[in-house]
């Protein structure tokens, strides 16, 4: 039946996910505006400082737990709160096709 094609599945992000950015996403510091931008097909995303810190660690090798541990140390914040925040952030980006597992 038409409209029923299934192919790649939706990524459900959890603490074991090893997130990475697809190669076509460009995380770039925009000097003129003095802010970070994430460039994607016909989209400009504006990550805040926290999102930039997370995205820079999404290398496909570290798990969400490991990323959370690093950031918890850096920002002296509770690791559990940070991990939950990262899962939410990455799930949102994954649903837009901008984070892969």
């Amino acid at each position: 039946m038409m409209g029923d094609a299934t192919a790649p599945r939706r990524l459900m992000v959890d603490r074991e996910t090893k997130p990475k950015l697809p190669p076509y996403l460009k995380l770039r510091h925009d000097a003129g505006r003095d802010r970070w931008v994430l460039l994607a097909p016909e989209r400009v995303l504006t990550p805040d400082q926290t999102a930039v810190a997370v995205l820079q660690l999404c290398d496909g090798e570290q798990t969400v737990t490991e990323i959370a541990a690093k950031l918890a140390k850096e920002y002296s914040a509770p690791v559990d709160v940070i991990a939950a925040d990262i899962v939410e952030l990455l799930q949102d980006l994954a649903d837009k096709g901008y984070v892969k597992g």
């Binding site: 038409m2 299934t6 097909p41 925040d85």
Partner: protein, 410 residues
Amino acid sequence: MTEELQANAHVQTVTVDDEPTTGVEGANDITAELCALAPIGLLAELTHRCPLQCGYCSNPIELERVANELTTEEWCDVMRQAGEMGILQIHLSGGEPCARKDLEEIVSTASEAGLYTNLITAAVTLKRERLEGLVKRGLDHVQISFQDVDPENAERIGGYPGATQKKLDVAGWVTEMGVPLTVNAPIHRKNIQSVPAYVDLAIKLGAQRLEIAHAQYYGWAYLNRAALIPTYEDTLASIEFIEEARERLKGILTIDMVVPDYYAKRPKPCMGGWAKGFMNITPAGKVLPCHAAESIPELEFDNVKTRKLRDIWMDGSAFNAFRGTSWMKEPCRSCAFKNIDYGGCRCQAMAMTGDPRNTDPACALSPYHAEMVNFAKEETAKPPTEFLYRNPRNAADVLKAKEETLLPAE
């Protein structure tokens, strides 16, 4: 506004669409911040030459001659200026951008200038080696139009035999090379039944994005609108299908939808507001606030040959003509939605009411609204008709006929 454009705690999203009417769309504060000193999107119409002849094309009837096209160096200079002034994305379009033999140099320069480069192509003339070369030079994203999913109908609509297989080949190479692919689906009466099949096609091809772009009636499409407007029922069904598919395909396929406004109650926020975040350059170098702006006779356009892009953006008279809200007449002036839809589309107001300052007839508050809706309902009640193919010969005929009607009555 789609769900995607709502603010996330840490990341906001702004669309920088190539569609002539969408432009830049996102939450007001972040869009205003990004576009304070420069637009974030630039549509570069490199040429009006095109191997296809689609009657839904929104290019002007009067197609630009090859001899008037900007030179390689002029386009490269545009790319450098765009990067310096803070433009973030460039849409290389046309006509068919691949008709320019110097596309490679333009892509290289755009990429070196830091621009995210989108190639908007019909793909029928694009060879694998050429695509590889463009990707090496920094091409970031390829968008391929499919005139229908059914090959026979697609080839009839585009007037190009064998088009579908060529497009499928190119789409396969794009994804193989790890470059994101957008499937562009230009929707009108002759293919609206294929909306579900387009979703399947996009998934099968491994596309990152699908653009369900209901025809917007400018240029050739305006000329052909009687043949192109889909029925109200088909329009609604297609929108409902896409809304459901979007939810079902979260994380698998991004679906953008440009909806037809002849059946709307509220006008579209055309371009995300006049001269707010987007600019357009014609093959001859004229700088426009939107794709169809040349249809407004009172406007004068600067050319990149004689003025810097940034000056044009900040001070160009055509850009300032309908920026903000002070140009508005009633009912826009006192309307609660004036900073949401900006009174709709200036070109549509011009085409249907003769005054670009009037409310877009797509708005239910426009005195011309009923006329617009009736036109759509009357045309769609009739059996389907053929559209006029977009090609230089038909352009000459249409322009000649127009001149004749303008002769004084005596």
